[in-house]
Amino acid sequence: MPDILSLIISALEEARGAETPQGVFSDLRTGTDVALVDLDMDSLSRFEVIMRIEEEYDIELDEDDLLDQKTVYGFAAFIAARVAKA
């Protein structure tokens, strides 16, 4: 099972890569948190990320679970808690 943060970064990159300012994903991988709002995700991108996480960890998420989080690391912590509870 991949590390949760790595999987989320990879899913975000897949969904938003070309439309995200350069350096955001390398920042995330080197310890700098990023606000989710800065990724400017549309609803479809959010669902792409949600589906990837649901399939990897066999959990159920809603779009609001992502919308409620402020940063990528915060979202990773939320998913980690959900996975631990599952």
């Binding site: 669902f47 792409e48 949600i50 589906m51 649901e54 159920e60 809603d62 779009e63 609001d64």
Partner: protein
């Protein structure tokens, strides 16, 4: 993104729900878009939506309502019998001394029985059923897949018990389950909590499980005194009628004119019976656990436990 405006005045709500200038939002679009883009099966969701009056517009809406109304009428006798003969015993069991899970012991079986009577087939939907959630915008992909599978199973069960029905007649019965299940579970569950806490000030439902109804403006419109563009989504806040000043007028929970809830009569009869039996009981009820499900469409208790003592 279309603009969304909340409506709180009775006049605005009546105008929006009572005219043809505002139509149901396109509930099919998101399922179709997600299913197509992320490549998962939404065929049973889309098939079900085509039979739900709330999802239809203009003449299709009228025709669909007529079919559903006829179906409810066919089941009325069995539903009335259930309310008169079985509900008092169910309330009595729920109010026996000790701890009780209100949804598992009362609300879910009660609604399943009413659905079974109206559909003409034994319906046994679990507490976590997703069949009513096709109105959700926020639900993730796993749940949409599960909902699609549940609707397929519901179709199979109905067709198995009533093999003479056409595909369309089966679809109407599925629509009835979609419309009735969570709306009634939510309204009954939330109202029971209010009743147990002494907040049921009349014999009407004190709470609604359907806090709002969305409509889309077909053309430029005047809402809350301001001109809004076509495709503005207006949200009629039915939950405002929970406020004490609306005691005696809470049938507004069930909507207006051409969009009034088709199950209103039986739902009201059910509550009056529940209210009568519960208030006549000597039980002293304390709500010990209560939590609403996370849901962008319905208010529905996920956890609802009581402790009953008798004087």
């Amino acid at each position: 993104m279309p603009v969304q405006i909340d409506l709180f005045t009775q006049e605005e709500i009546a105008k929006v729900l009572g005219t043809k200038d505002f139509v149901p939002v396109d509930y099919e679009a998101r399922h179709r878009m997600l299913g197509g883009h992320l490549d998962f099966d939404v065929s049973d969701i889309l098939a079900a939506i085509r039979h739900v009056p709330l999802c239809a517009r203009a003449q299709a809406h009228t025709a669909s309502r007529k079919r559903i109304a006829k179906l409810i009428a066919q089941g009325t006798s069995d539903m009335v019998s259930f309310v008169r003969e079985d509900v008092p015993a169910m309330v009595s069991d729920l109010l026996l001394p000790g701890g009780h899970d209100v949804m598992a012991e009362f609300v879910d079986p009660c609604v399943n029985k009413l659905m079974s009577a109206s559909v003409g087939v034994p319906i046994d939907l679990g507490h976590d059923t997703l069949v009513s959630r096709l109105f959700s915008q926020a639900m993730g992909i796993s749940k949409r897949r599960r909902m699609n599978a549940e609707l397929a199973e519901l179709r199979r069960v109905i067709a198995h018990h009533l093999p003479h029905l056409s595909e369309s007649e089966v679809g109407d019965r599925i629509a009835l389950c979609i419309l009735g299940t969570d709306a009634l579970r939510g309204t009954l569950g939330c109202s029971l909590k209010a009743l147990f806490e002494g907040a049921a000030d009349t014999t009407e439902y004190p709470r609604t499980g359907v806090p709002y109804v969305d409509r889309e403006a077909l053309s430029s419109c005047l809402v809350n005194g301001r001109r809004q563009p076509a495709h503005t989504v207006v949200r009629a806040r039915l939950d405002q009628f929970e406020r004490p000043e609306f005691a005696g007028e809470r049938n507004r929970f069930f909507g207006y004119s051409a969009h009034v809830c088709l199950g209103r009569k039986i739902a009201v009869d059910l509550w009056q019976q529940v209210h009568h039996c519960a208030t006549r009981s000597l039980a002293n009820v304390t709500v010990t656990k209560y939590r609403l499900r996370r849901d962008d469409v319905f208010n529905i208790p996920e956890k609802f436990e009581i402790e009953v003592a008798h004087a």
